[in-house]
Amino acid sequence: MPVELVELEGHIIDSLIFAKVLDVILAAGGDYRVVDVEIGKTNTDVSTARLEVSAPDDAALASLLEALQVHGANRVTVVDATLEPCAGDGVLPAAFYSTTNLPTQVRVGERWVDVENAEMDCALVVDDDGRAHTVPMHRVRRGDRVVVGGDGVRVQAPERPRGANPFEFMASEVSSEKPKGLLVAEVAARIRRARAGGGRLLAVTGPAVVHTGAAPDLARLVREGWVDVLFSGNGFATHDIESNVLGTSLGVSIREGVPTEGGHANHLRVINEVRRRGSIAAAVEDGFVRGGVMYECVKRRVPFVLGGSLRDDGPLPDVITDVVAAADAMRALVPGVTVALMLASTLHAIATGNLLPAGVETYCVDINQAVVTKLADRGSHQALGIVTDVGLFLRELAAALCP
């Protein structure tokens, strides 16, 4: 539906003009979204309201806007976004518009065009055919037309949270003092709902998933088809394979919880054996790896990205050590994801949070409240923090989803 922004100013509350304008819109078969209302504080202060008015088609919108003008509601004049070509590969014009992860529209040819892939901290590139999409700095090419300045760009603010239920809230509320059983049941219900709607589930995992003994539960979730994409690092994949091949995680017996003789080198030996075979998939194929999360991913063809870091041992041959390339590989798997589980991971979780559109329901599970808060604070508007042991969380989640 075509949309325009109108502004209303004056003693619009006491004069019932505001109510009248809303009624006029609905009576005309249109719809509105109140963008903001500023109520005058004193008797003499004027109030201001901005409304996004929509109607079934351009003609209906034009006549509605004309009707609203009589009551003092004027279209906020908007200009097309200013576009400037990139002077070189990987370098943006100085005044480039920096994106948020919220649904965004760009004014091109006097029409609002939806930005195709919301991602924060990117540039907005408009194609020759008028389509608009986000592009990270390093991916722009010389001559790409980039939006500069804020004119002709609008961002749809996240819905204001309503209700006391933390899931209705979904607004960076983090607490260690919430009944976990209920939270897990609700997460499971939401995952089922997302899947029923054709959404994809992304799991982002840290090594603690293995250390806490939760890898078999996650493996079960992968095996039963609940996980569609996995983002992680060298540590998680290594310990997942180590625990399945040698029964230890960083040399500590998963079963007895005690360090094993010479166990400190177990993960290095495992990495070495996988490197010998060339890839995790090859290690699965020849029977070196016979179970675990990575095994299930290979078997079920669940795509995964292992991003490298400075302190990685080995690393495993699948690890992408060029971090820019790793982020691009992750970026390519984001479309279609509607639910993200951030499981005891700090760096990969935050990196993923940066890539996701704001609408993706994100659950961040960590024993450390600071990690949960950090992710939620980075602008992931639909992030719910759950402060708990990831091992207990995954056990209950697997029990709920794979009965």
Binding site: D14, S15, K20, T44, H71, G72
Partner: protein, 262 residues
């Protein structure tokens, strides 16, 4: 007030005006003189604005602009026929010590014809002559809350044909001239309204000049007279039939100069 030397129906900008219905200028002069005498005998002092040829509606001084203390906000007329009145009005106010505060050029507002103070706010009409947008401008210019009323009957094209403040609690009101929202606004604002029916409203009895407790109107319907007298007002009829041909009543022919809105 402005004497009707050059008055006439020379164009048609409201449903009352018909160029083929001639104005009897002698009768108009008599009616005007009588109205002036009535206003003066009620206790008001009348200043006179010089008439100008080619400006027949200059007699309707209520539309000249808004007076607030020593400030004068000249009207921005909707119709080009009346726009030349502005310079003449502003010159008079300027030469009489008023500070001229103009409205921006992109709004229309027809002065006291479309804005009347009541209960600490300025009620202002819009649609036929004044714009809703002008109300916000006026509010900022004068530092006053403005309540906007949408006028819906083209025969009652100015607010002063539908609303007449009597004192700080009472007003003559013609709700048939307003939309449902406007009616609610007035209902909330006026503790004791004298509500006119359609016929009463179309007799222009809301277009009254109020001087103290004297209410001067062209013709007073019996019911309205009884109610006003019951409230302690004295009603004086001052026929202005010739001016009704141009869609103006008693109040339209006057502009109060002792107005302090704030």
């Amino acid at each position: 007030m402005c004497p009707p030397e050059h008055f006439g129906v020379l164009y048609e900008i409201n449903p009352w005006m018909h160029r083929e219905v001639p104005v009897d200028l002698d009768r108009a002069r008599d009616e005007w003189e009588r109205l002036r005498a009535t206003v003066e005998s009620a206790g008001a002092h009348v200043e006179v604005l010089d008439p100008r040829p080619g400006l027949p509606d200059l007699v309707f001084t209520a539309n000249a602009g808004l007076v607030e203390g020593d400030r004068f906000v000249p009207s921005r007329f909707r119709h080009p026929q009346r726009q030349p009145e502005v310079a003449h009005d502003a010159a008079w106010f300027s030469s009489h010590g008023f500070v001229i505060t103009p409205l921006p050029e992109d709004v229309h507002h027809e002065g006291a014809g479309d804005a009347l103070p009541f209960g600490g706010v300025l009620l202002s009409g819009y649609r036929f002559r004044s714009d809703a947008a002008s109300h916000t401008v006026l509010s900022k210019l004068l530092g006053l809350p403005v309540r906007s009323l949408e006028l819906v009957d083209p025969r009652l094209y100015h607010l002063d044909l539908t609303f007449c403040p009597l004192d700080d609690r009472r007003a003559i009101v013609a709700p048939s001239g307003w939309d449902a929202y406007g009616r609610q606004v007035v209902e909330a604002l006026v503790p004791e309204p004298l509500v006119l029916d359609d016929d009463e409203a179309l007799s222009f009895c809301a277009n009254s000049v109020v001087v103290g407790t004297t209410v001067i109107m062209p013709v007073c319907p019996a019911r309205v007279g009884r109610l006003l007298e019951g409230w302690g007002f004295e009603v004086v009829e001052s026929p202005v039939d010739e001016f009704l041909k141009a869609g103006g009543g008693c109040r339209c022919l006057t502009l109060a100069l002792d107005v302090r809105l704030a």
